[in-house]
């Protein structure tokens, strides 16, 4: 292991470490623009210059120089100071002095580093370069005169997003960063280039001129737009969410988030339910909480518990689902969470978790996707599979419709019969799985919402067992959920016999008289027409269409809550802002309603609720740990149909009421379909 000194501090580093990383290890800060931990090394900004001996008597770019044994690195000499001032002066030659009108202002690497390492004045009197704006899609606003050509965005598009449409055209002073033919950057993770851009060349289009970083309140919370549970930071001002940014969590989302996570937040301010409604004379009319509760209590009075059904939606936190379960079961009814018709059971935890863990992808050497399009179901997880695939140590095969997942997959067919072939050893991929040290099978929701899903589950289970997918330190059986609430709901046992279809049939036949819908909007609610429907949720979407009483709940940014991601990792979300109007946190609504209906729930604040929930379901108490669920026998042997799989997500940009309310998501959908292209402007448009 190389041992070197940085400013006199001795450090021992792993072989292959760069001088810049060695400096960081020694606690010495090196300014940089192009270097990024998660991207390849470009070495083109020259900001990280240091003095190194032994070596040629000239500045060395520390980001691209491997640390060698006996090196002496100096970063605090007069020479290094001059190097940095020189590079900074060059970088600022063409960079406009428009910080006061730049959205990056206040969180700009160039601004910060020119303060720290720059000379403070320029000697340049020649003409400056002006570059026309480029169109990169509805999420990225470009002011290319500000660009310093670090190529972080180009490397991100190539390496992480896997959509190589960004590039640097021209040369020398005329070099420009652009997308090919100025098309939209067609990735589900495009927004991340805005975070990567060290200057204000790429900024968030929807956030243009909305706020300054120092006036925002930062709330560290959890994303609910997919089941990955990305760690995010919600920046809010007053009663409005201004933007969502990623937080670093190496085992979940590293430092990326999908565009839906980042940009669907404008949907939080639209189509909101801000007061209760009660249906009178066939029409929904504004009501007070007391009137709404009164109407519910009146209906519930003459009804047997078995005639009450609850349905929970995809974005619910564990607390509201626990409160709902307590409330409905106190009346004698039952609650169902699988509104998409999934057949997955709640009995064995290993049977519905992403057991390998998201970080487990980094070790997998064979991945079999079954009925899943991870690019749409969880773009960040898909990027992780791509990272693994790029190492050439992992083969990926797919059973399901063909899809561009940004990496090469072996297409094994789209029928569940292929699973049977693999189990019988009749498919070549069986050998790949067998020879793999860490084989992995990922079941998507497209494989779980069919009539033969239990048989598919059994096949996947058996394949895992047969080909060494389950060992003492590895479990390769994975379910990739699409709903953020699903794992918590299954942990809470929110499943009923026959699932959602039994409820809908029950309504049709009159067996179910009251349906309590907790923000479930992803099924056809017209089938609920015959029942008395109570809808509790944040947005006026599908769920309210046939509702008789509407109770305004709050969205994920407006309540503290516990979420379990697809791995079963418990993560705690915080409240960023308060809900609009008379909307209330969902568990409090159940608590208040229970008092009216006469079966008061035994908790008065969220701490008491959590204590009760943790006592009843201990898995909820282990915050931020990847659970190791005990392997079990799940699934039911049976015949699988030869019908092809259908991916669960048809429209990535509109998977939930928040995203459907978001104008930005509409623009993204249009841009992905090649519409809405606007001509590049000159840099003065707002």
């Amino acid at each position: 292991m190389p041992t070197l000194t940085v400013d006199g501090i001795e450090v021992v580093v792993e072989p292959g470490t760069t001088v810049l990383q060695a400096c960081e290890q020694a606690g010495v800060e090196i300014p940089r623009f192009c270097y990024h931990e998660r991207l390849s090394i470009a070495g083109n900004c020259r900001m990280c210059l240091v003095e190194v001996t032994p070596g040629p008597p000239k500045p060395a770019a520390s980001c691209a120089l491997p640390a060698g044994d006996g090196m002496e690195v100096k970063t605090n000499t007069e020479k290094v100071k001059q190097y940095r001032e020189g590079v900074m002066e060059f970088l600022l030659i063409n960079h406009p002095l428009d910080c006061p009108v730049c959205d990056q202002g206040g969180e700009c690497d160039l601004q910060d580093q020119s303060m720290a390492y720059g000379e403070g004045a320029s000697r340049y009197t020649e003409k400056r370069r002006i570059v026309k704006e480029k169109y990169m899609g509805p999420l990225i606003r470009t002011i290319m005169t500000r660009c310093i050509h670090c190529t972080r965005c180009v490397r991100f598009a190539d390496e992480i997003a896997g959509v190589p449409s960004l590039g640097a055209i021209g040369r020398g002073e005329n070099m420009q960063i652009t997308t090919y033919n100025e098309q939209a950057f067609a990735s589900e993770m495009a927004g991340n280039v805005v975070d990567l851009c060290p200057v204000g060349a790429l900024t968030s289009k929807p956030y243009t001129f909305k706020a300054r970083p120092w006036e925002l309140k930062n709330t560290e919370t959890i994303d609910v737009h997919d089941a990955l549970g990305s760690n995010i930071r919600i920046d809010s001002r007053g009663k409005a969410v201004m933007r969502a940014l990623p937080r670093i969590h190496e085992e979940v989302n590293e430092e990326w988030i999908s565009d839906k996570t980042r940009h669907a937040v404008d949907g939080l301010a639209k189509n909101r339910l801000d007061r209760p409604y009660v249906k009178k004379d066939g029409k929904l009319q504004e009501a007070t909480w007391a009137e709404a509760f009164g109407a519910i209590a009146a209906i519930l009075k003459g009804i047997d518990g078995s005639q009450i059904a609850g349905i929970v939606g995809d974005l619910c936190d564990a607390e509201s689902m626990y409160a709902m379960k307590s409330f409905i079961s106190s009346l004698g009814g039952s609650v169902e969470c699988r509104q998409d018709g999934s057949k997955i059971g709640a009995k064995h935890r290993a049977g519905y978790l992403f057991n390998s863990g998201v970080a487990g992808i980094d070790e997998a050497d064979a991945i079999l996707l079954v009925g899943s399009n991870p690019r749409h179901e969880s773009p960040v997880l898909n990027a992780r599979i791509r990272q693994r695939w790029l190492t050439r140590k992992c083969k990926v095969a797919n059973i399901g419709p063909e899809a561009d997942l940004t990496y090469k997959i072996e297409q094994l067919g789209d029928s569940a019969k292929v699973l049977q072939d693999i189990l019988d050893g009749k498919n070549d991929f069986a050998d790949v799985l067998k020879n793999a040290e860490h084989p992995m099978i990922i079941l998507g929701q497209g494989a779980l919402n069919r009539n033969d899903s239990l048989a598919i589950l059994k096949l996947a289970h058996d394949i895992c067992e047969k080909y060494g997918g389950v060992t003492d330190d590895w479990n390769g059986f994975n379910v990739l959920h699409t709903a953020a609430s699903r794992v918590a709901a299954l942990d809470l046992g929110l499943v009923t016999d026959g699932g959602i279809n039994a409820i809908l049939d029950g309504v049709e036949s009159g067996g179910i008289k009251v349906v309590y819908n907790l923000s479930a909007d992803e099924f056809d609610t017209s089938k609920l027409e015959k029942a008395f429907v109570i809808y509790q949720g944040s947005h006026g979407d599908e769920g309210v269409k046939h509702a008789d009483v509407i109770l305004p709940g709050v969205a994920y940014t407006e309540k503290p809550g516990t979420y379990l991601n697809t791995e079963g990792r418990v993560q705690i979300a915080q409240r960023a802002i308060f809900g609009p109007g008379e909307a209330r946190e969902d568990w409090t609504i159940f608590r208040a309603l229970s008092e009216v209906t006469g079966s008061k729930l035994p908790f008065d604040d969220i701490a008491q609720l959590r204590a009760k929930m943790h006592a009843e379901y201990p898995s909820f108490a282990h915050v931020d740990e990847k659970p190791n669920a005990e392997w079990a026998d799940f699934g039911v042997s049976g015949k699988v149909s030869k019908d092809g799989f259908i991916h669960a997500i048809k429209d990535f940009w509109g998977t939930n009421p928040i995203a459907r309310s978001s104008e930005t998501m509409d623009e993204c959908r249009a841009a992905m379909n090649g519409e809405n292209r606007t001509e590049g402007a000159t840099g003065t448009d707002g």
């Binding site: 896997g162 959509v163 190589p164 590039g167 021209g170 090919y180 098309q183 067609a186």
Partner: protein, 207 residues
């Protein structure tokens, strides 16, 4: 992979050129076939009337399994690829320091006046294109014009005008130095080493 890229007008290599591509593919390992991009672009430019269109770049990108933007980067990086249509006669004038010191300004003026166009422009009839190039690598015969893969050297204003008039007359001017000089030999004959050295001459300051 580039999802929304619209196809521009069509381009395809001729049969002969396709045959030729095989010799290029043979130069590189299968997984490094991107290395063919520059010779391909050059050959395609020849075939495509002297310029590289979007269709050309996409055709070559598809041939080499490269993202379109990667080919676009290469084509825009090198100034020898013309990214817009050029005339039948492309006249490239070098204006880098040695040529400039030897009077390339006069050569440029002559070209502009004779053709009635500026750098980077094509005459309205689509016959002539005037381009400014960086060092043509013939500084010893500066100033230099490149035309149809030949160099016209040791130019001044008059010889440049004569050169262009000849092209306009449909003739191909005689390449090489335009001032009577032979290749890069001294003008007016040798100035040194005129005689054969005597057989007993001592070289290198022998003792």
């Amino acid at each position: 992979m580039s999802m929304n890229v619209k196809k521009a007008e069509k381009f395809e290599f001729t049969k002969e050129n396709l045959e030729w591509t095989k010799t290029q593919f043979a130069k590189y390992p299968e997984n490094r076939k991107e290395s063919c991009v520059m010779p391909f672009l050059h050959r395609a430019q020849e075939q495509n009337n002297g310029w590289v269109s979007v269709a050309v770049m996409e055709y070559i990108a598809d041939m080499l399994d490269m993202p379109y933007i990667r080919v676009h980067e290469v084509a825009t990086f090198y100034s020898m690829y013309n990214l817009k249509p050029v005339g039948k006669h492309v006249i490239e004038v070098c204006t880098t320091t040695p040529c400039w010191l030897r009077g390339s300004d006069d050569v440029v003026r002559a070209c502009k006046e004779e053709l009635g166009i500026g750098f980077g422009e094509t005459t309205e009839d689509g016959e002539y294109t005037l381009l400014e190039v960086e060092c043509a690598g013939a500084c010893v015969n500066a100033p230099v014009i490149a035309y149809k893969e030949e160099y016209y050297e040791d130019l001044n204003e008059d010889t440049t005008r004569a050169f262009i008039k000849e092209i306009k007359a449909g003739k191909i001017p005689k390449p090489g130095p335009q001032n009577g000089r032979f290749k890069s030999c001294p003008i007016g004959g040798p100035t040194t080493l005129k005689d054969m050295a005597p057989a007993d001459a001592e070289f290198g300051g022998g003792e």
